[in-house]
Symmetry: D3
Subunit: 190 residues, 6 copies
């Protein structure tokens, strides 16, 4: 179970009114390689991991991804807060406003609702860890795209932090893969 | 952000081998009115709630639903653990095994991946709270269906606990609705 | 069965050329809380309602929602009629034109095809009526968003009529909920 | 707008308890080539038809398909009515029961929710009429499959009626295609 | 099996920088009536065709549609190649860039991922050939929309070639339908 | 473009009537980690690969995956051919028969239509190659599940061949990743 701590893992700073950026950030809120994909993927895969260490790693990273999802949601909320329907229309958020006002809802940047088809859990720990390493690369790449889409130094700073965490997760999944492969080899020997 | 506490909110007890029940429980793991729907719905709606109390309520219930999602996932995992492909075939889990082995993956009871189309966030707190009250009724009903599908006293006990929590949440959303409507009336007066 | 009467339940008036509004109105034609959602939801839920009165109510409102779906479709058609590809490109309807020309097709405002995942039928009349009350709130809210996105007095007038009908339906579902709960209590007593 | 007449276009007779058939009939209630697909397809395509005759035809057939959707829904309802959870489990409806009890909900026979991706409206009347002729062939074929899946003479009789209507609709769309092509040729000449 | 020949079936020429056109062309790359729909539809339907001639036709046309899919992908790639994030933002490709950079990914023009729900295979050759004739009409119409959305003579030329091929395929499916109907009649006689 | 060669890359042998296996094989025909996912993924990613060698590799493997898709389709076709509706009902293919008869249609083993949401193309060659390595692991795992679901030596043999090819592709993508990373490093130096 989880306990909520009322603070963000990393501060959200928004200096410029850039409504269109709220839309693009949806890529990381409800898109294919979003923080939601990451959190649900790791928290659902952990049951069939073969070692407590691997189970713990997936739980920890999954829990951190939830915190990142909250950071991205907060950024989107701050970017849209106070915008008028007319401004939203002009900045290509009219369709979003019609259905969600300025609420935060898990769609991708084009407005497609999140689907679990983006993630997988196969029961094979070697395979699932490869899936996770690829997922971290995809999330890193998405952050790099988003960083290039904004020139707000506050938004850029938060996105860089989040990007950096994906790189760390990639490395930790790589280490877990080595561990799991050793464990599976050991099991076959004895 | 969240801190993971390594225990289940309520114990999972499985006394009978009932593979088919693992499949039905998917209704609450990745189905339309599942714990995943509940957690994502409340955690995504909270940004646009008008009072800190309402924001806090959605965060608390959303966080608890994550714990329920974990309980349901654990039940499914325990029910399928150790089953052979032949047993899974016989008990209508052959299609699931082909794609996910005995891993836990967020589909509904028929195998349809979870989609955010099941939930909504409209930016109108009165509306979102109605959506939530309806969601709790739907989750309660799904638990009642599941309870009727099993005669394992352990599974029944856990499902009854989860069902009870939905009734409590329904009441708390009802109270929040009164609060929010009062708040909105007060704002209009002054 | 149904008999078609060749008139709209309420007149459609379009005074201004506002192509972008055609796109936003898709929210009510093929979006999550659209008239299509309402019609299909009520007409599919009615079979398991416990009283003839409740069955009749769902049939009547479902049939009226079909008429509203026709009104929204007519508005969209009138708004796009005669527009050139160049105009459609400029007003963010180029993607829509590429696939549907100026035909009326049930997508949401972002272009996502309608899915039955938006609606539910659980067999529990109390639950289904809560779902319907929430649905009417969501439809009301969507109309309020749409009204704020246009300044065409004709379009606004039709949208206000449709919004008003959702409020009436909400009340009627509330009354049906009381009836059904009384009926269920009576059944338990005797 | 539509007026509801409280009778079925054709009577529904169910002589045998055949729960599994309820599941298969979903193919025509919420499947790709279902009566729901037909009704939504024709009622949404009619706006861009070039002649009043063609508009009227689509409205009439679309309205009749709604009546067929109601017939299929009634058959499904009657087949499942009164079944116990245990019976539903045994007859492969456990997953359906978990989410919908014995309510009627628009999924296909495998439990996939209906999506508008099954239908199209292109704005080109020649193309849309070809789509419709193909749709009627697909609906006819689905009825033929369903007839082969049951030996209940009552269910067979109703399905044969519905199949026959699809053949008639196919012919009427073929005639409309000739009309529309003549009309388009005439327009080009003058 | 297939052998790849390193050339396009028809040359791709792009004279003007028209980023928005890349987005619209997605209609034919990952949209409902796209070349991907065509290729997957025909290659999957061929198994149940009743004659070797019909099987061969579906294989040949399906294989050619793959080549057309490659042509459309190449056009999209050339149109986006070298564009900056700022240019992509301005031309309504910011959402696409956030998730896919300038890679080619099978979505429709609004960004909805391709789904097999767009196509059908019913096992009835008469029905499947009608589906295919309708599919060719829809693809033709989509090309006509796309031709009207661009004034680049190079893009127009390639689109005209592709449109022409759909007309030829329509005719060939029509001939196959006559053949198959004769074959089925012959079988019934003897 | 592609040239079709009328032979299978590897022979299909089916010794036992095992209808249920046809259903499970859909996992590799239209499931998340199917041959269709592989073919579409590689053929769509190749445009943005930075070297001709990498483009060529994706084209070659993508083309081979099409051949594997054909092999899996042929297996499914042979397994279902000649089965009666009654046999299909008994072996859990009644729902499939209702919509597709014994035709081959790209759904997963539970009947969910294939969606491009299963695959990704990010424009970053390092990321896309990681995605591909993970994809090959997932495909390998799916084949291992399928091999465990059958005891037909013919089906097992073909599945083992296909599994082996995924291992080879995994290695080739690993080598391409090293190449691409070297190429990118070289570019940064000069």
């Amino acid at each position: 179970m989880w306990i909520y701590e009322k603070k963000l893992e990393y501060p959200v700073k928004v200096y410029k009114a850039d409504l269109r950026m709220a839309k693009y950030l949806m890529a990381q809120y409800g898109g294919p390689d979003s923080e939601l994909s990451a959190a649900v993927r790791y928290l659902t895969q952990r049951y069939t991991m073969p070692t407590n260490k691997a189970k713990g790693l997936l739980t920890d990273i999954g829990t951190e991804e939830l915190a990142h999802w909250e950071i991205v949601g907060t950024m989107i909320y701050r970017l849209m807060k106070g915008a008028t329907p007319e401004q939203l229309r002009r900045e290509d958020l009219g369709a979003y406003f019609a259905e969600h006002d300025r609420a935060v809802y898990p769609v991708d940047a084009s407005g497609v609702p999140w689907t679990a088809a983006y993630i997988q859990a196969t029961g094979d720990p070697v395979t699932d860890l490869h899936e996770n390493m690829a997922a971290e690369q995809k999330a890193r790449t998405t952050y790099e795209h988003l960083i290039r889409l904004t020139d707000d130094p506050g938004v850029k700073d938060t996105l860089r932090f989040l990007r950096e965490r994906e790189v760390v997760h990639f490395q930790r999944f790589g280490e877990a893969l080595v561990d799991v492969q050793e464990e599976l080899t050991r099991k076959k020997i004895f």
